[in-house]
Symmetry: C2
Subunit: 475 residues, 2 copies
């Protein structure tokens, strides 16, 4: 059994700053007291220990308080992606069989009809009911569930346990170090593991999170140059935007700033060089929802020596290449206490690991010095602005239209987003591109919408008629 | 399963400095290669995976290599205290049923007769036999066994597992922080958890250990003032000696120096004030063999606010007071992943915990702000220069003499050592103090020898004839 992170941190360092948002700051004690109050209000609404609860809202302090309240009640938190369409959300709610849905007022319009919603504003005004907050959590307890798309196009709900999150945070600190004054800037979504893990680290490390609701590039860059931030998580797109502002203003990161963690796909070499010129240390990482954040991280000091590498595993983790070819390339497999025990809902029976190893589907190799290089993302994965997009999901949406006979989707390089999805369609009957786009909008998040739709006579397939998505690009 | 610490560290940061001793420095890669070679030599001697091995030697690099070799072979390491008498060592060897005894040449004369010894020099010259080094260790694997005296006078062999050590090191880093350039000065015994845990932290954190064979106060103080050290573990006696030299030279700790961890009993307030005047941050800690080092630590910033306190628990730990009296004082109980799963040998059946809580026997209270105060050490424990001495052990040694009818031992305050043991004897027949001292020398470590022997007519006892050791002081 391990201590309830929120209670323990409020006990150990009650007066340390925990959160800053738009000029207002909360200590760990204050956050905990708000979370306990909120837990009592949720209890009055009938929410009980262990319930599975979906939650959605913009990255604001009230979302964090609501998340911590659910954690106090040992609920399983299904973190809903705000960018999803109503039908995508409906799928996740049904798959997760949640007993309640807590939604920020701002996001009420994003929900499917008839969803059993508790609005934040209503909860916050509600009566309280006494409840015992557990002082300890078992390692196996599911803290959070995040949906990640799969090769089949059906998103899978990934369990992230107390043990997964703890292992991730402690392994990370052994790599990055820790100082009492460290401040993490959080402008990545809290519903992604990139943002969620910043909260977990804050609780375990006792350091402050400086939260931004939007990726406000001017405010964030100003903080990096003149402010309190020491660490930040970015994807290539947001890193580039920060670099652009720094260059425009001919400014450098403050000497207080320590490290930028760059995840969600490779960072172009050019960005690394530009970052170096701006005093900005960048550590490339390789991680995923199934590993509760980083599995490998390339130290800043090695960034230029091992260009393109995702680094070495964190201390408690292992990485191996399954069935390597003659060049040493094969499927990247991961093992460690940070790896999910498995999925929920329709994929509950599908084990996440084989003999303890997570088979990522990503292709990579380990060089002679032990550094991991990711060669190709899993099963045609498209990474667009740090969001994972699986072609099959878009193909399924297109195939649902009666005029579509066959559909194939692949990624196309894009200067701003890294990649964007592009579709190739074989038609049964005539239909316009506009009609298809409009049709997909109901079923796909905006960032998944194909940026081009091309009509073709046939799709490239192999002998067993399997779609060869990589050949689509040649069309 | 967790990675083998030594292999993992050598893989992750092969070229970082791991150990400095008398001007010579080894990287993690070099230490690992030496340890693998030594593991092969031990294999050639017939030592196998999982064997229980006793080890003894001065704090020198060859001891560390031998320890790491045994860890590579997943042996259970019985760490022998070099200060023990031959008969005390014989007890531990028999109780632990070790299959081999590895001893530095310098310590060969300290052994009981007929002990099945492998001398370091012989092992180091021996042939090698190929052996597979395990890449992973289970959490439950016993890494080390340390004997701690008990109230019965029979030392108990405490298991310290992979999980215990990892939990201790990760909880400590969340409290003390970590920087890539940190260097721990080690002048505490490696056979104690205080020294052993410095090695574990070095492997997990990737930082350097600066090792001293002896507590050479001038060399150590010079390092604190001008050298590379950032952290150090002390007991009150050694802290005072360092302070004395600093004051004599009117010197201060370098700005590079970060923290002194003071364990093994309370630190006098006067020392803390003197340390402050010398720029020396001191964190008081409370820990024991059964908790693989620190359980609670008082932050330096709180040292003067909470004088006499041992601080708050480390992040993954919990402390409670069992059956508190009206003043809130009761037995200190500890829970967490750092608590031993139990003992070996004659105490193997004795569980270490009750409902997951270790009952320490120490008396203390937790103040309104949550800080632990240790009021009285367990069962008349005498702490002399950081070494624990149980009166019963000395009483047993005295009672073995034919002239002794009854014996009672208690601690007496001592300016240098904190406390020293003093004996009260009721005789059957006349005998000299010298004769008794000479008799005890065969069975007791030097630091346990009674500093005074007083002959009395009767010992203070309660209604059920139980010796009242605290009343001895009044005689």
């Amino acid at each position: 059994m391990y201590p309830n992170w929120i209670l323990q941190r409020a006990y150990l360092t009650p007066l340390r700053e925990a959160l800053t948002y738009e000029g207002q700051t909360w200590t760990f004690n204050e956050l905990n007291e708000l979370a306990i109050k909120r837990a009592r209000q949720l209890t009055a609404l009938g929410i009980q220990e262990g319930d599975r609860i979906a939650i959605m809202g913009p990255s604001m302090p009230n979302l964090i308080v609501m998340m911590y309240a659910c954690m106090h009640l040992q609920c399983e938190l299904v973190m809903l992606n705000r960018r999803l369409s109503a039908s995508e959300i409906a799928y996740q709610l049904a798959d997760a069989e949640v007993v309640a849905l807590l939604v920020a007022d701002e996001d009420a319009n994003k929900l499917p009809q008839n969803a059993p919603v508790h609005l934040f504003s209503v909860i916050e005004q509600g009566i309280e009911k006494e409840v015992t907050i557990a002082k300890e959590w078992p390692l196996e307890q599911t803290t959070s569930i995040m949906y990640t798309s799969g090769t089949t196009g059906f998103p899978k709900g990934v369990r992230q346990t107390v043990g997964n999150h703890q292992a991730s945070a402690t392994a990370s600190v052994l790599n990055l170090g820790l100082h009492i004054g460290d401040v993490w800037l959080c402008a990545v979504p809290l519903f992604h593991i990139s943002g969620f893990s910043i909260l977990v680290r804050s609780l375990l490390y006792g350091n402050k999170v400086h939260l931004y609701e939007q990726f406000d590039v001017d405010a964030i860059t100003h903080n990096i140059v003149n402010g309190d931030v020491t660490h930040m998580s970015v994807v290539a797109v947001t890193l580039e935007r920060i670099l652009h502002v720094l260059e425009e203003k001919n400014a450098k990161a403050s000497s207080r700033f320590k490290m930028m963690l760059a995840g969600g796909g490779p960072v172009p070499v050019d960005y690394l060089q530009r970052a170096g010129a701006r005093n900005l240390a960048v550590a490339q990482t390789y991680g995923m929802t199934e590993t509760s954040s980083q599995t490998a991280t390339l130290a800043s000091e090695d960034a230029m020596l091992k260009i393109g590498s995702a680094g070495k595993p964190l201390f408690f983790n292992q990485i191996r290449i399954a069935e390597p070819n003659e060049q040493g390339e094969g499927e990247i497999c991961i093992r460690g206490p940070h790896v999910t025990p498995g999925y929920i809902g329709r994929f509950a029976q599908k084990g996440a690991t084989i003999d303890g190893w997570l088979h990522t589907g990503d292709i990579g190799y380990i060089d002679k010095d032990g550094y991991l290089f990711v060669v190709d993302r899993r099963a045609d994965l498209i990474i667009s602005g740090g969001e994972n997009i699986y072609p099959a999901e878009i193909e399924n949406a297109l195939l649902a239209h009666p005029a579509v006979k066959e559909a194939g989707v692949c990624g196309k390089d894009d200067e701003k987003w890294g990649q964007v999805p592009v579709a190739y369609i074989v038609l049964k009957e005539p239909v316009s591109v506009e009609e298809l786009i409009s049709f997909c909008k109901h079923n796909l998040a905006k960032y998944k919408m194909p940026k081009e739709i091309n009509f073709v006579h046939e799709l490239p397939r192999n002998g067993s008629n399997k779609l060869l998505r990589r050949k689509l690009k040649e069309l």
